[in-house]
Amino acid sequence: MSTPRLVALLLACGTAHAAGPNLGQPLTHAELAAWNIHVLPDGTNLPKGTGTSAQGASVYAQKCAHCHGEAGKGAVSAALVGAPPIKSIDATKTIANFWPYPTTLFDFIRRSMPWQAPRSLSDDEVYALTAYILAQNKLIGENDVMNAETLPKVKMPNRDGFTPRFPNLMPPRSGRDL
């Protein structure tokens, strides 16, 4: 990044306050906590907590099976288990045949699921559901424990299956990119 705009912004930041209206209110990390839910591919911002596939199975049966079917086989909502080969441009994308990062699974369950009541699951329940879905797909072992240390290390089969459409529009990779 070396655009004139960014340089100007960085220079402006040297002063205590920019010349603008300054109507924003300072926000502390603690005040942000309930909203600060992003999990990045390297595991940044994964919360404390832990879960196993066995724990996830019971949460799944109570809160997920209604839409996603028994054992993730799919019902009114998408199947969560299975990896049909990608043989056409309209192939069904599944967690096991397509999703590049395991952290996305945790992040999406925590922010968006269950559809009728998102943000109602504890972090332990989200880890447990993540473990259950990964184990059902045989991407981790039945007894593997998912937590902030182990989850980012799970290797997804389609990790290298992507290419940017316009490489010139991609920010330079940082040391933290996986």
């Binding site: 309209d90 590049p100 996305t104 459409r165």
Partner: protein, 424 residues
């Protein structure tokens, strides 16, 4: 009558014919039909309806509504498509702007809403809609288009559907809001920041990662849409506007912007809006809505009234900037004539094109093709199929076999005047 000599095959006329010659000459081309005697109508002989507080279109325009993919609100995404075939001009009425909501439209009390900007900044700040409305505002026209718009064209057979069904997930409005550079000047930007993760306050907490470069280029926190507050389906009380970029990235119900070194690889960027290529690999971070045009009148469902004069009209746009040229063909691409572009032609906005046409009553295939200011040309169907492939089977019209289709659309008119979607 020299100026009505066709300029391309099958009756396309010079785009300037009526600017020079006057509209009365149109009648001269086909001859006059005898008119009925004029009479006073009932509505001319008594006072009209009560003037409402908020106006709505005439009851005779009930067909000009969006089509809904999920009218009962089942637990899945809802799409509402713009009826391009019934609109003219370039500003989509707010009630007809396309909407995609992944779990309904959030019903947000603006007094309770907040926008937080944090992460790799010098000072994390939080704003209310009321305080943002006090900032210096800017207005600009911009189209918003779903990455999945025009997806039926990936079908191996042409799907018989209206321009609304095929291209209805694109709309254009004048947006007014606060440029993000203004807000980032106040938060400051850490030199390590490369991405901005945007998140909504809707129940899926939809999130997308945007390169900081785009945020600093022309991104806005939009508060107004065509002069009134942003509609609930567009993210009331505020949305991220990224002119020309994939609709889903224009995060609605915007509540949080986090500056980071890495992208989030959120569900929508790592899975949903990652179209599979014929090689089996997939594009990730498509970003741009590439140069596209389509004819809206006539199109499927249009009632041709017999041989004679028609105006061919349509919409062109590019996420890379202004439209510079639109060519139209009435003979399936054998010959082309340049269409008139309605001024003002604005960057990353709908541009209305028009060309006069003398239909001889025989078979015709209408096509349009657009060029943008960066020199990009709208691809032919053969070109996009070679690059992006086709679906393995004919999908339902509302399905998304892939995304980011921007090639030429063809409407065939037969001797009965019915219009069909064809591949040509």
């Amino acid at each position: 009558m020299e100026k009505f000599q066709p300029v391309a095959g099958n009756g396309l006329l010079d785009r300037r014919a009526f600017l020079r010659g006057g509209a009365a000459l149109a009648a001269a081309m086909t001859g006059y039909a005898r008119a009925e005697p004029l009479a006073e109508a009932p509505w001319s002989k008594e006072p009209g309806e009560l003037v409402p507080a908020y106006g709505t279109p005439s009851k005779f325009e009930k067909a000009a509504v969006r089509t809904l993919s999920n009218p009962k609100g089942e637990p899945r995404t809802s799409h509402a498509r713009t009826p391009h075939q019934l609109l003219q001009g370039t500003a989509t009425p707010n009630g007809l702007h396309f909407t995609i909501s992944h779990a309904g439209n959030a019903d947000i009390d603006p007094a309770q809403h907040r926008l937080a900007i944090h992460g790799l900044v010098k000072r994390a700040l939080v704003f209310t809609p009321e305080t943002l409305s006090r900032y210096p505002l800017v207005s600009r026209f911009a189209f918003v288009e779903c990455g999945g718009n025009s997806a039926p064209l990936f079908s191996p057979e042409p799907i018989q559907a209206t321009v609304q069904a095929i291209h209805g997930l694109a709309s254009c409005a004048e947006w007014t809001g606060v440029p993000l550079t203004t807000l980032l000047e106040e938060t400051g930007v850490d030199a390590k920041a490369k991405w901005v993760i945007a998140e909504g306050a809707d129940s899926p907490h939809l999130s997308r990662s945007v390169p900081l470069e785009k945020i600093l280029d022309d991104a806005m926190v939009a508060l107004y849409q065509n002069s009134e507050r942003v509609m609930p389906g567009q993210g009331y009380p505020m949305r991220l506007l990224l002119p020309g970029w994939e609709g889903n990235m224009n995060v609605k119900w915007l509540r949080r912007l986090e500056l980071t070194e890495q992208p989030a690889m959120s569900y929508y960027e790592s899975r949903t809006y990652a179209p599979i290529l014929p090689s089996g690999k997939a594009y990730q971070f498509y970003f741009i809505q590439e140069v596209k045009s389509f004819i809206t009148q006539p199109s499927v469902g249009f009632g041709m009234k017999g041989p004679g004069f028609y105006e061919i009209s349509g919409i062109a746009y590019s996420g890379n900037g202004r439209i510079t040229k639109v060519m139209v063909s009435a003979d399936a691409g054998k010959t082309w004539a340049e269409a008139a572009l309605q001024e003002p032609v604005m960057s990353k906005s709908f541009t209305r094109f028009r060309i006069p046409w003398q239909w001889n009553g025989g078979p015709a295939v209408l096509q349009s093709r657009a060029w943008d200011a960066l020199g990009n040309v709208q691809p032919t169907r053969a070109e996009i199929v070679a690059q992006r492939g086709v679906a393995s089977r004919v999908p339902p019209p509302t399905a998304f076999p892939s995304q980011h289709y921007n090639a030429i659309t063809s409407w065939a008119i037969d001797a009965n005047g019915s219009v069909r979607h064809v591949y040509a």
